[in-house]
Amino acid sequence: MKTKNICDLARTIRSKNAGSFMITLEIIFADRGIYEKVKNSGAVTRHAIADAYGLPEEKILDFMFFDPGMGIKANLQRNSPSGGPGETDVYGCQQYAPLFALEIPWEE
């Protein structure tokens, strides 16, 4: 089956602190048709996101589709709280790149 990469379908892919102990990952679409197609493809799941990070599924704390914002959201527990000893990303804003690996089954 043909696939399309998530970067060719989404408008925004980002990460950010959601409090000092959690990082939130977001994929936001600009077009409702594309968003619905990605949502219905079943290719973006808690399991698929865990896989992209090479993490066990239970590390992805929440996973949800947010229809009004045409967005997909997942939360990751931080390995250590923001800004403390040995911590690596105070704002949590450079934790999204593995999501670029998501491939969505796509027939035109």
């Binding site: 959690m22 977001e26 949800m64 045409m70 939360n75 709280p81």
Partner: protein
Amino acid sequence: MRKVSLLVSTGNLGDNIIEKGTFYEGVKRDIDCFGADAGTADAGPTFLGSDMPHNPIEWERHDLEITLIEARKKKVPMIVGSCSTTGTDRGVNLYADIIRSVAKERKMEPFKMALIYSQVPVNTIRERVRKGESEPLGASFPLTDEVLDNTTNVTASMGIEQFVHALEQGADVIIAGRACDDAVLASYPIFRGFDRGVSLHMGKAAECASLVCWPQKVKESIIATVHDDHFTIEPMHPDQQATPHSVAAHSMYERTNPFVQALPGGILDMHASKYEAQTDRICKVSGSLFVPSPDGSYKVKLEGAGEAGHRVYHLVGIRDDRAIACLDQILADTRKKVSEIIGPERDDQYELFFHPYGKNAIMRENEPVEITRSHEVAIVIEVISKDIELATSVAKCAKFRFFYMSYPGQMNSSGGSVALITDEPLFPKNKCYQWTVDHLITLKDPLDPEIFRFTFETVSGV
């Protein structure tokens, strides 16, 4: 139809300056209140722990000055929350001094200023914890004596009730300590009798000013207007649009859940929120509900930070790709050797971290890429210890051991394995702090005088 309009010009007062063009465009409209949030925990625990300002004072003064001048011209309230990033008493006092000085310089007519302090002494928290009035929020651990002994500063995040109290006392300007972002903006319409759900969702949507609009721009003004059963967002920048999509998407920003937002006394429920285009650049939102806590409890978030120790860095670079190929082994060998030289009996007196930029410094355990394609890497050596001499020795020892590392396939001779940008260890201006408190505390009274303290004064420049 009655309504209340707020001009919101910054999502974080003072972390850079408000753009004047759209601010004065907004000022031309009927504005009932100027609101600004100045806080964030995103900058990390250092600023709360050390009670140090995050922003240059001149930027904070710039924003406070232009806002105060226009608010006083229109004779409408100006509300600022989470002063100086962390909302400590120092922050409230700093902003209050700026307000007094601008009023004097501008020879302003008298007005009433309320200060709401929300920094809480650690011992007050300790007593409340002993009475069983606290529970973990973001943190996974309870507030033990040990955690509180290691905490230097704590703030409580106020909700609607504290701002409304100040407004009821006739405050024209409110300068507040740590506050929920949405409450800073929602409190005025709620004080005026508008619906809590509508007002709170407005506060949440508008708290980052122009970031709620597309294309995204920062520090541009927007107007948020609350009506009886909906609110609207309108950008003042001609190139921006507030669309149902941009406003809805902002509900996701920096939150774990775009459907529900907790605040003192209840939750904002956005499951039934409806986002519609009023025009091509004004978005209308309705259907958001405030749901009071089922048990009637009033829980306030506490933020606290404390010292972890002195922090010392050393920075070493590697260009030798044969060494980069063996990086994991080199890091493990270096760590082992440092422990041996410093003495295993002192292992628990310091923490040693390697941040290998070019490999997995940013995502560490979560990094799925196992083999770096970079032809050079930098390793930031970070050492934390209560003893600065020990921290320095450990940093120097790690640097030395990288300098003399050995690995399979090595071509260089001993003493030339890393490039140094300087052979000095690097000492940040501040110690290392860590978040120690991210908990809820239950209050019997939202105006609990041990948690929130109010002062009222007349400020006059004449």
